[in-house]
């Protein structure tokens, strides 16, 4: 079997914070991503979900080298990506591209659409200079924009249209893998549906692999083949889409799914809710043992106070995994 398109193994990204003064030393380590592993095959979509601060965006940024990883490995078809120099990265950027959340901040306001879309082609010396603009127009057409608007500036477009430009820019180099960091979160519902559909259509057309980062579980369910749930820098549950949404195993996943309001009053008013108490703890001072245990309803069901003492590792069975003492003992 050939190597998977993307293989992430025990990826860690720690940020040093604080400083050492003459009389004090308050240097600490923020473990934004703390041992994340997953695989992604061509043409597939992997969802990375979790609440703010759980490390999902940092994971994507560490994969693409925007934050150099602290340790661990990221392989693109068997080729190691961590520790590469800028020059070594350059040819690989053609294969991995990123789409950002904020369509207002991620496009240069002083570049025309034409310049935004031909710049990657120029850098990578793709297509003849004369053909580049034609390629850019074809890209605009592919993302559902009017190719005649190619000489306009980003401010002349609405949020949804700008996100389409961001997608066209990422597609310019014909990548195999797209990292999408909350691509529809800033958009209105009616526009969000347009972009979600466009992403699905482009994936099919170009056989793209998506690492889809989002906090909106309904959108994730709609687009992803497999889902990883993150909490405080770790994956707490990973499963194929239907398994995860129909029978979540980790108590955090259960609570997260139960917190999503359902846009149907009959269901919304009768369903059972798990309301978690407290906030997500600070990643600077994560709780001991299982980081979820202070908010977990099942903490008393595990003997010997194990949840507070021992951090559960991912327990694999039937193509899915969950990091919980309770589920590990249940199925063992």
């Amino acid at each position: 079997m050939s190597a998977p398109l993307l293989e992430v193994k025990d990826l860690k990204k720690h940020f040093p914070v604080g400083s050492r003064g003459l009389f004090s030393d308050n240097r600490r380590v923020l473990r934004a991503v703390d041992g994340v592993s997953f695989k992604l095959e061509r043409g597939q979509t992997l969802g990375l979900v979790g609440e703010s601060g759980c490390g999902k965006s940092t994971t994507a940024r560490a994969i693409i080298g925007l934050h150099p990883a602290t340790s661990g490995s990221v392989k693109l078809q068997g080729q190691e990506l961590t520790g590469l120099s800028r020059a070594e990265w350059l040819p690989l950027r053609r294969r991995v591209q990123m789409i950002f959340q904020d369509p207002y901040a991620s496009l240069d306001p002083r570049q025309t659409v034409s310049s935004i879309l031909t710049e990657p082609l120029t850098i990578h010396k793709l297509a003849k200079p004369k053909e580049r603009k034609l390629r850019a127009m074809a890209l605009l057409d592919a993302v559902g924009l009017n190719p005649r608007h190619i000489d306009r500036y980003p401010h002349e477009f609405s949020g949804g249209q700008r996100q389409r430009i961001g997608i066209a820019r990422a597609l310019a180099l014909e990548p195999e893998l797209l990292l999408l960091d909350e691509p529809v979160s800033a958009l209105d519902v009616s526009i969000q549906a347009q972009i979600v559909n466009l992403l699905g259509e482009l994936q099919e057309r170009f056989n793209l692999a998506y690492l889809f980062i989002a906090h909106d579980l309904a959108v994730v369910r709609h687009l992803c083949d497999e889902v990883c749930v993150m909490y405080l820098g770790r994956i707490v549950e990973q499963a194929p889409r239907d398994e995860l949404f129909e029978s979540p195993q980790h108590p955090y996943t259960k609570a997260l799914l139960s917190a999503v309001p359902h846009p149907n009053p009959h269901i919304e008013r009768t369903r059972e809710r798990i309301v978690l108490t407290g906030d997500v703890p600070s990643p600077l001072a994560p709780p001991t043992g299982c980081t979820f245990h202070p908010r977990c309803q099942h903490v008393t069901e595990v003997e010997d106070d194990r949840c507070a003492k021992e951090c559960p590792s991912l327990f694999y069975s039937d193509g899915r995994s969950s990091a919980c003492h309770l589920t590990a003992t249940d199925s063992a």
Binding site: I191, A255, R273, D279
Partner: protein
């Protein structure tokens, strides 16, 4: 039950260099005591501006607010002097904003900001006010409220800050609470906590809530009735369940159809409304939704469709409203 707030023919216009923008175009709605009215729409539909207008917070110039009446109980807010309005605001009508970080003053402690409300509106002494403020914080589920009074906003998490905002809004026991996207900036598990809290507080105090949101899931769970806004006008009004079951306006229908959920068929194309929301400075003639509407015909672009009542307790501003009501929506 008595009507807590009755807004009639409210319009807000902004006179800008790029022309006049009609952000809100003669909308009318009312809320009963203890009721939650949802106000749904996309960005730019005028939902926030209309609530700011009720609070008397639209900056003028460039804003021009006009209304036939805005009755808060017996009193007409449009007839009050700025000084009288200031006494009503925060006491009888209070507001919770979307972003708890920017709506609290970062330079003042939570205690100072909470007691200010009580000193101004209730004339309490500082020590009395601090006691009441601590009780208020306890009511919204903040642990160790006395200690929290000394904290600055940046020391609190997003969910805690939003609790402080809600506590502040409820300190004087207002008749009407306007909540403008109160949970949009929060994570879902925290959102669930805040919504639970709002339901609970409403039950205890009988507050009328105007809930502004773009999240149809939140509306489905929280509101008794819903107003749907598009391009500055209310296009549909109905009780929550009938609205979701059988929308009588094509925009509502499209909006409901385009939201993915956790139970339907996954992986198929979502229904999506074609095109973009209109630019308020260049509204199309007639129905503003017509250029995006699958049912649109020539008539739709000739005049703004009158608001009709296609069924009991329902309003819709669509020429096909009755047709839609009969067949129970397109789906």
């Amino acid at each position: 039950m008595a009507t807590a707030l009755d807004v009639r023919e409210l319009s807000v216009r902004f006179d800008t260099q790029h022309g006049n923008v009609q952000a809100v175009d003669s909308i009318s709605f009312s809320i009963e005591e203890g009721e939650t009215l949802g106000l749904v729409g996309e960005s730019g539909s005028g939902k926030s501006v209309s609530s700011l207008a009720v609070m008397g917070l639209v900056p003028s110039p460039p804003g021009v607010v006009s209304a036939e009446a805005m009755l808060l109980g017996e009193r007409d807010l449009t007839q009050l002097t700025p000084e009288e309005l200031r006494r009503v605001r925060g006491k009888e009508v209070a507001m919770v904003f979307q972003d708890p970080m920017t709506s609290l003053n970062p330079l003042l402690t939570v205690g100072r900001q909470l007691t200010e409300v009580l000193e101004i509106h209730e004339g309490l002494s500082q020590s009395e006010a601090f006691k009441r403020a601590a009780v208020g914080l306890g009511d919204v589920g903040i642990p160790a409220p006395e200690e929290r009074l000394a904290a600055y906003p940046h020391e609190l998490s997003g969910g805690m800050r939003q609790r402080v905002m809600i506590a502040m809004a409820l300190l004087c026991n207002p008749k009407v609470l306007i909540a403008d996207e109160p949970t949009t900036a929060l994570d879902v598990t925290i959102q669930a906590q805040i919504l639970e809290l709002m339901r609970d507080l409403q039950e205890r105090h009988g507050t009328a809530i105007l809930l502004i949101t773009h999240d149809l899931g939140v509306v489905a769970g929280m509101s008794d009735r819903v107003n749907v806004m598009y391009a500055g006008r209310i296009v549909e009004t109905a009780a929550t369940t009938p609205l979701f079951d059988a929308p009588c306006h094509p925009y509502t229908e499209g909006l409901l159809g385009s939201v993915p959920d956790l139970t339907g068929v996954a992986g198929q194309d979502l229904y999506s409304i074609p095109g973009q929301p209109p630019d308020l400075a260049e509204l199309p003639p007639g129905c503003a939704f017509a250029p995006r509407c699958s049912r649109a015909r020539e008539e739709c672009s000739e005049a703004i469709p009158a608001t009709v009542s296609p069924a009991a307790h329902r309003l819709s501003a669509c020429l096909d409203a009755e047709l839609l009501a009969e067949k129970g929506g397109l789906k």
